[in-house]
Amino acid sequence: MSIESDANLDQELHAHGDTHGHGSMRSYLLGFALSVVLTAIPFWLVMAGPPVTMAVAATIIIAFAAVQILVHTVCFLHVTSQAEGGWTLMAYIFTAILLIITIAGSLWIMYHLNSNMMPGMTPGQFTETP
């Protein structure tokens, strides 16, 4: 199987000539159509007033954003396991991991810092502490 797909890939790379890495009309239009839908639904959800609880609405919005980022990555940025011998994908995954650690880590730490430290900082409680 791998031999066959490699042979196909080889042809594909040659057919692309000197500007490999660009997309096709199909991938751009598909990406655009998907993006419009994936953008419109979260905006509608918030602007029309969410019919579900805030937490559910927030989860749906974040899920749509994650899917839309993937759509843009594949259809517009053309990151695939084949592009640049897989190095763009590797760098992309590495960055995504660092990004999640930075953002989720900051939010997690600061949330606990706030919930543990803030009561002691309020003037009323300050006088009560020995």
Binding site: M1, S2, I3, E4, D6, A7, L9, D10, L13, H14, G17, D18, T19, H20, G21, H22, G23, S24, M25, Y28, L29, G31, F32, S35, V36, T39, P42, F43, L45, V46, M47, P50, A57, A58, I61, I62, F64, A65, I69, H72, T73, F76, L77, Q82, E84, G85, G86, W87, T88, A91, Y92, T95, L98, L99, T102, I103, G105, S106, L107, M110
Partner: protein
């Protein structure tokens, strides 16, 4: 599987890794494209840090305005639409570039630059309205984070517009030579990358802010 075996017998030297991709890269400067990609990824980390600080400060209103008080979602939806359309018009420029259609490439690039300029104008209008209301960056931690994050993205878009204008001059002077094609591919990655960052901005700053 049987088909694959038959092919294996035909091919004189079956390779299981991408030997072509490396060779191929030399004529367009694949090293440049990969290097530019690494820059974009480090830029993404810069945005991650700013997103994280906004996230930490996003409820520090200091008695000032909350997202519900100041955000105009129709304006944000308009801006999101503009940026999304500019992404596909840049895609059309890339498709016109491939067969070397100079006029069409320049036309689509110009449309993209104009859409980018409208995006920045709407954003500046929004900033102006906020500052006029007293929602300045100095007002609260939330507003400092907001102006830093959205402003940083806006600065990137402005830089992208300047780059498009430079490329219009370059193409006008030298045509779609290999070096210009390579530059346009880097510019394309940059432009689409900014659209990806904007997905994070409208989701985490505006939409989730309005839900809070």
């Amino acid at each position: 599987m049987a088909k694959a075996k038959a092919k294996a017998q035909v091919l004189p030297d079956p390779t299981f890794h991408l030997v072509e991709a490396d060779d191929h890269a030399h004529d367009t400067g694949g090293g440049t494209l990969l290097g530019f990609w690494i820059y974009l990824m480090s830029d993404a980390l810069l945005f991650a840090a700013v997103f994280a600080s906004f996230g930490v400060l996003s409820t520090s209103y200091a008695g000032g305005p909350t997202p519900r008080d100041i955000f105009e979602l129709p304006l944000v939806a308009l801006n999101t639409g503009i940026l999304l359309v500019s992404s596909i018009t840049f895609g059309f420029a890339m498709l016109a570039m491939e067969p070397g259609r100079v006029r069409a490439t320049q036309g689509w690039l110009l449309v993209t630059a104009l859409l980018g300029a409208s995006f920045v104008s709407v954003e500046l209008y929004e900033f102006g309205a906020l500052i006029a209301e007293g929602a300045t960056p100095q007002r609260s931690g939330f507003l400092s984070g907001f102006f830093t994050l959205v402003g940083l993205h806006g600065l990137h878009v402005t830089a992208g517009i300047a780059w498009i204008l430079v490329m219009l001059v370059q193409i006008g002077q030298r045509g779609l030579i290999v070096a210009n094609k390579r530059r346009l591919m880097c510019l394309g990655m940059f432009w689409h990358f900014l659209d990806v960052v904007w997905i994070g901005v409208f989701t985490f700053v505006y939409l989730l802010g309005m839900l809070r």
